[in-house]
């Protein structure tokens, strides 16, 4: 990929970046049914997503957002907000980063993590809606726990990597890109790496 040319971004990304849809103008005035914030500024991306829900039809009727981040982060939140309007809540819950990226016509590889935040923000908003309406049981407790917030790498992925032969932190980074952004997760990653190696391979 030609990294020097920033508009490797598709026209669609460019469009959503220049004219973002469904921007949240006034956070205080917006009466949302669910609200989610994910990401952190340290890694350069943060998203806020709010939704309105038709409680009888279990459908998202409106979605607004704000994003601190680069062009692809802004564009992917914008397009996601378009995608989910009119969508059944349980379907929206299942949206993956891949769904968002493909709707945008693909993303440069190093920008994928920006769109990863979009579906997480949406799920956080839906979880909030569930909580507010006494439907906590619907909140999918993800079995996997995210270790690396920047690259969205979970403990399950670390375990899989170990099972597939990864033994060192460097190998794990090559495989999963874990800890390649802010590096905050390194101590926890090292512990987990050690734990899984012992768990599966120590006699």
């Amino acid at each position: 990929m030609d990294k020097s040319n920033i508009w490797v971004y598709s026209d669609k990304i460019k469009k959503h970046f220049t004219q973002p849809k469904n921007l949240l103008d006034d956070e205080k005035k917006y009466k949302e049914d669910g609200k989610g914030i994910v990401g952190n500024i340290k890694c350069g991306d943060q998203m806020l997503m709010v939704i309105k829900v038709d409680k009888d039809k279990h459908t998202i009727t409106d979605c607004k957002w704000k994003t601190y981040g680069c062009a692809s982060a802004i564009a992917s939140t914008s397009i996601l907000s378009e995608m989910v309007k009119g969508m059944k809540i349980n379907e929206a819950y299942k949206l993956s980063p891949k769904d968002i990226a493909s709707k945008l016509g693909g993303l440069p590889e190093h920008k994928i993590h920006c769109s990863v935040l979009g579906d997480k923000a949406l799920r956080a908003a839906i979880d909030d809606y569930y909580k507010r309406n006494g439907m906590e049981e619907r909140i999918k407790k993800e079995k996997a726990k995210i270790v690396c917030q920047c690259m969205n790498v979970t403990d399950l992925e670390i375990e899989h990597a170990v099972l597939e032969g990864t033994r060192t932190y460097l190998e794990l980074q090559e495989k999963t890109k874990i800890g390649t952004v802010c590096g905050q997760c390194k101590p926890e990653t090292l512990k987990l790496l050690d734990k899984y190696i012992k768990q599966h391979f120590d006699k």
């Binding site: 990294k3 020097s4 920033i6 970046f17 220049t18 973002p20 921007l23 103008d25 914030i37 500024i41 340290k42 890694c43 350069g44 991306d45 943060q46 998203m47 806020l48 957002w65 704000k66 994003t67 601190y68 981040g69 680069c70 062009a71 982060a73 802004i74 190093h110 993590h113 920047c150 390649t180 952004v181 802010c182």
Partner: protein, 395 residues
């Protein structure tokens, strides 16, 4: 109306000076290999040696102290490489000296090559800088020892423009018996550089930052100091850099420096006026901003600003749509997600580092250009902040 285009990224690279273009066109017929003894070769050789003499004169070196390389990065790599020289023919008298001292805000070509040396066993110390990007002299004095072989500190920083006290650092280095190198890629042709007055042993420079062609760099090597070539296998550059000479590049570099000599001092004053104007306007029109770099010891052409709650790449791209070309403090746009190591080293939090924009002016920059930026920038920042979930910052 055609869209206005304003290039304010001269620290990245510059367009060719019209006089350099002319010189290059004239030199295009000069195809002979400077190593050949026939007329073609001799003609090329003469042109190269004339250029070398002019270039040496510009930095007050002797002609045979100037080596041509492929880039500023190659010049820097060459100097660091000397530390691990293992050749008996090079005359690098190591003795017990084998350590490197450099700073945390060097160009990646210094940081990456020193990291490589570190992994191959050379102890490397990275000196910290203060909030303006000035190298901590006290720390340098503490860390330098009889084991230090080389100290490498840049002359002017590419991102924030801070100019280091190279002369003073060179003296401290020499008082401790070590060699001193400065990466002066952003300094040569912008501020006066005199290798004798600065008393440096090595000094790297480059053509494309000063309206010369790309692919040509220079390295000053004081005649008395040990040297070890990075690229071996030819007698060019007195055996110090193999490879058939880049004749056009060398001629272009000489012409670029000749033009710098005429233009740079007036230009620096003009830029200072623009910089003050732009800075004042940003302070007046845009809330929550801060400026990076030294307030006075700095390239007058460089202004680095952090816009709170606004991500740099988004600002860059919206400015690009207005025809204004700048660069970010975050390398996000160029493929890495990390904020700039320079901005982190001067103590900026990740948010301010991610929200930094560098304006770097050049010889074509006009007051009208600056006023156009002043007109467009507040709107762009407002747009980015309207979208941002991190503005205004929550306490």
């Amino acid at each position: 109306m055609s869209k206005r285009k304003i290039y304010l990224d001269h620290n990245a690279t510059t367009p060719l000076h019209p006089e350099v273009k002319k010189a290059l066109k004239d030199a295009m017929e000069l195809f002979g290999n400077a190593s050949s003894l026939h007329d073609y070769g001799r003609a090329t050789k003469a042109a190269i040696e004339k250029a070398r003499k002019d270039i040496a004169g510009f930095i007050n070196a002797k002609p045979d102290e100037v080596i041509f390389t492929g880039s500023g990065s190659e010049s820097n790599n060459t100097v660091l490489n000397i530390v691990q020289c293992c050749s008996s023919v090079c005359n690098v008298a190591h003795g017990h000296r084998h350590e490197i001292i450099t700073s945390k805000i060097e160009h990646p070509c210094i940081l990456e090559s020193s990291k490589c040396l570190l992994e191959r066993g050379t102890p490397v110390t990275y000196i910290k800088v203060d909030k303006y990007g000035k190298v901590d002299i006290d720390e340098l004095k503490k860390k330098i020892s009889k084991k230090t072989l080389l100290v490498s500190i840049m002359m002017a920083n590419n991102e924030i423009g801070t100019i280091e006290d190279v002369k003073r650092i060179a003296k401290i280095t020499h008082d401790n018996g070590a060699l001193f190198h400065t990466d002066a890629v952003q300094a040569v042709g912008k501020v006066p550089v005199d290798v004798r007055a600065l008393n440096v042993d090595f000094l790297s420079f480059s053509a494309h930052k000063i309206y010369g062609p790309k692919g040509i760099g220079g390295l000053y090597v004081r005649s008395s100091v040990p040297f070890c070539p990075l690229i071996r296998g030819g007698h060019q550059e007195q055996g110090r850099r193999a490879g058939t000479e880049n004749t056009l590049g060398i001629i272009g570099l000489a012409k670029a420096l000749q033009m710098r000599k005429k233009e740079m001092s007036q230009e620096a004053k003009r830029f200072l006026g623009y910089k003050k104007r732009l800075k004042k306007a940003i302070e007046d029109k845009i809330p929550k901003v801060s400026f990076n770099g030294h307030p006075t010891d700095s390239l007058t052409s460089t202004l680095n600003v952090s816009f709170e709650g606004s991500e740099g790449e988004a600002i860059l791209l919206y400015l690009d749509m207005e025809g204004i070309a700048v660069s970010t403090g975050s390398a996000c746009a160029s493929g890495s997600l990390d904020p700039s190591h320079v901005l982190l080293a001067v103590g900026l939090g990740p948010e301010k580092a991610h929200g930094a924009i560098r304006f770097s002016m050049g010889r074509d920059t006009t007051k009208e250009d600056i006023d156009y930026v002043i007109e467009k920038l507040p709107k762009v920042i407002k747009k980015v902040r309207d979208i941002s979930s991190a503005y205004p910052a929550k306490k």
